[in-house]
């Protein structure tokens, strides 16, 4: 399988996962992360993806992926049958994000979740000064056709994890360039200066 460069948040996720882990990716798209992990880290990966074209691409590449829906299909998996449940830029598109996160925590020992941060300064600027719902490279949809129906900020997400009693072991804040937020200002206010964030939860 030919490997292209992974998207920045996927690369961060891939770096966290240990060799030969068992993982489940919810919303695996065309299987970029699963293929990378299987190739480079001999990871035993499974995936759920909602689109037929995505699933077909995955299966064509020899990945164990089922066509299904995060809201519906996670309930069938046994408890703690994976080392990691992973979802990247997907939670915000589910009908019941809280239930999905709980299901992910039920089926795996740890979860890695990446979300778009609605609290990023550009989004705030867009809404405050333009008076329009933010549209950017990451959030490229108009309000009426977006699959992203549950936006949150990084802070919102942390509050939910806290409420559910989950421990956030690691937070990675990313800039649009894919680089990790590093300047002193930005690290002090990551909810303002990061566009995407990756959380490792246990």
């Amino acid at each position: 399988m030919e490997q292209e460069n992974l998207r920045a948040d996927l690369q961060q996720i891939a770096d966290i996962i240990e060799k030969e882990s068992h993982i489940m990716e919810i919303g695996c798209g065309e299987g970029a992360l699963l293929a990378y992990l299987s190739e480079r880290k001999n990871v035993d990966g499974r995936g759920i993806e909602i689109s037929q074209s995505g699933v077909s691409k995955c299966v064509k590449n020899g990945l164990s992926v089922i066509q299904g829906d995060a809201d519906e299909d996670l309930q069938y998996y046994p408890e703690k049958c994976f080392d990691y449940a992973v979802s990247s830029q997907v939670i915000q598109a589910t009908k019941h994000p809280k239930d999905v996160i709980q299901q992910m925590m039920r089926i795996a020992n740890k979860c890695i979740i990446s979300i778009p941060n609605f609290g990023y300064w550009y989004n705030r600027y867009y809404l405050t000064f333009k008076g329009l719902m933010p549209v950017s490279k990451t959030l490229s949809y108009q309000w009426y056709d977006t699959p992203n129906i549950h936006f949150s900020t990084a802070k919102d997400f942390e509050i939910l994890c806290d409420e559910l009693g989950y421990k956030i072991e690691k937070k990675i804040y990313l800039q649009p360039s894919g680089e990790i937020v590093s300047s002193p200002w930005a690290t002090a206010f990551p909810n303002f200066f990061s566009e995407k964030c990756v959380f490792l939860i246990s």
Binding site: V55, K60, G62, L63, I66, G68, D73, Y76, P78
Partner: protein, 388 residues
């Protein structure tokens, strides 16, 4: 090791050469689910490609209800190309340069394998309804005898559509250590009430034909052509989708400009179905139709595992590919998902795709690029894992 045999077909009792066949269970009988034993019985098969030195490159194809072992080459009776000619061959999805591909006519079938038109040694006459009732499990166990006969310890992939999918599932569940991967297409883990209902209509149609003669038509030199033909017509409708039928025929008239106010085949769809029925009787044995439909009706992996399908897949290392077709109402996606959920519950390796098509159940035998691509990708993965 193998030989060709002649068998009779259709109302005119024409003889055709079928096979190759090999006789199995010579030393020890095969005990069937019904309790009866069979021994030294023939199974007919066809192969393509070569078994490699490691004997790890076998793909076992399992045919559907009225299919047979002729997945490639010319069919001896119909003269048509093999049912998977599109994807089996040099450089094709199931590449005969890589894989040793084998397909067997199922136990109870009529293309050379042991079935109801064979001679009952006790009476010297064709078995008819004295042939033991067989199950999907029996079919699989008879296939296993041939696989072992060939010295194959592990099959790279069992692939089957419709009834063949049931065999592919049963293979993996009964002999997981022998099955590296199982591909289940347009199939289910059990027959639903609706599936059984349609089969019962087919069987009753055959049995209501006076020429069926309580199953002894061969002895009496008769043939329930009308019954078998109508059974086929009914079944054929279940293989197509409403939209597909509409697209193909709409209300088109057959070689006429207006309806004739009679019961001739005015409509194209009528003419088409009559043709399907007529051609079927020339290649299929009516009693085989009864036995094989019964085997499918009895198939229930859920019941066989105390009502919990996932128990069937406990600790299974076989890799699965489940494929359904969006317009298949005979084995709908919901049935495929039932299998997928059970496999998920046992954390088995499974891929699942629902292919968008209006071609209904029969899509698995048709040129459906998305389906072929999915199957091809899965098999490519298998060949990579096994280093074939």
């Amino acid at each position: 090791m193998s030989k060709k045999v002649k068998a009779i077909f259709g109302p005119e009792y024409k003889e055709y050469e079928v096979g190759d066949i090999v006789n199995l269970a010579k030393k020890e009988p095969l005990v069937l689910d019904c309790g009866k034993e069979i021994s030294n019985f023939p199974i007919a098969y066809q192969t393509a490609g070569k078994l490699n030195k490691k004997k790890n490159n076998t793909i076992l194809l399992c045919h559907g209800l009225t299919g047979d072992q002729y997945f490639t080459g010319r069919h001896p009776i119909t003269g048509k190309k093999g049912w998977w000619e599109d994807i089996v061959g040099k450089g094709k999805i199931l590449d005969t340069d890589k894989f040793f591909i084998i397909c067997m006519n199922v136990l109870g079938g009529c293309m050379g394998s042991y079935g109801p038109k064979d001679i009952n040694p006790e009476t010297g006459k064709p078995f008819g309804l004295d042939f033991p009732v067989i199950t999907i499990g029996d079919m699989v166990r008879s296939q296993k005898l041939l696989i072992e006969h060939l010295g194959i310890k592990k099959i790279a992939g069992v692939i089957g559509g419709s009834m063949g999918g049931m065999l592919a599932l049963e293979w993996a569940v009964s002999f997981p250590e022998m099955v590296h991967s199982s591909t289940v297409i347009a199939s289910a883990s059990r027959h639903t009430a609706q599936n059984i209902a349609f089969h019962e209509i087919g069987r009753q149609t055959i049995m209501a034909d006076p020429n069926w003669c309580e199953g002894k038509y061969i002895e009496q030199k008769k043939y329930p052509a009308a019954g078998l033909s109508v059974a086929r017509m009914t079944a054929h409708v279940t293989y197509l989708s409403e939209h597909g039928l509409q697209r193909k025929f709409d209300r088109g008239l057959q070689d006429r400009d207006a309806v004739t106010y009679g019961f001739d085949a005015d409509f194209q769809v009528e003419s088409y179905l009559r043709y399907q029925g007529r051609s079927f009787v020339n290649r299929f044995d009516p009693n085989s139709y009864l036995y094989i439909t019964r085997a499918m009706d009895y198939f229930d992996l859920v019941e066989a595992h105390d009502g919990v399908l996932s128990r069937a897949f406990k600790d299974i290392s076989t890799k699965f590919c489940i494929i359904s077709f969006s317009s298949d109402w005979l084995f709908p996606t919901s049935e495929a998902k039932h299998i997928v959920h059970a496999l998920s519950a046992s954390a088995a390796k499974v891929s699942f795709v629902e292919v968008e098509t209006d071609k209904g159940h029969d899509a698995f035998l048709l040129d459906e690029p998305e389906f072929f691509a999915t199957l091809g990708g899965f098999i490519k993965g298998v060949s990579k894992e096994l280093g074939i």
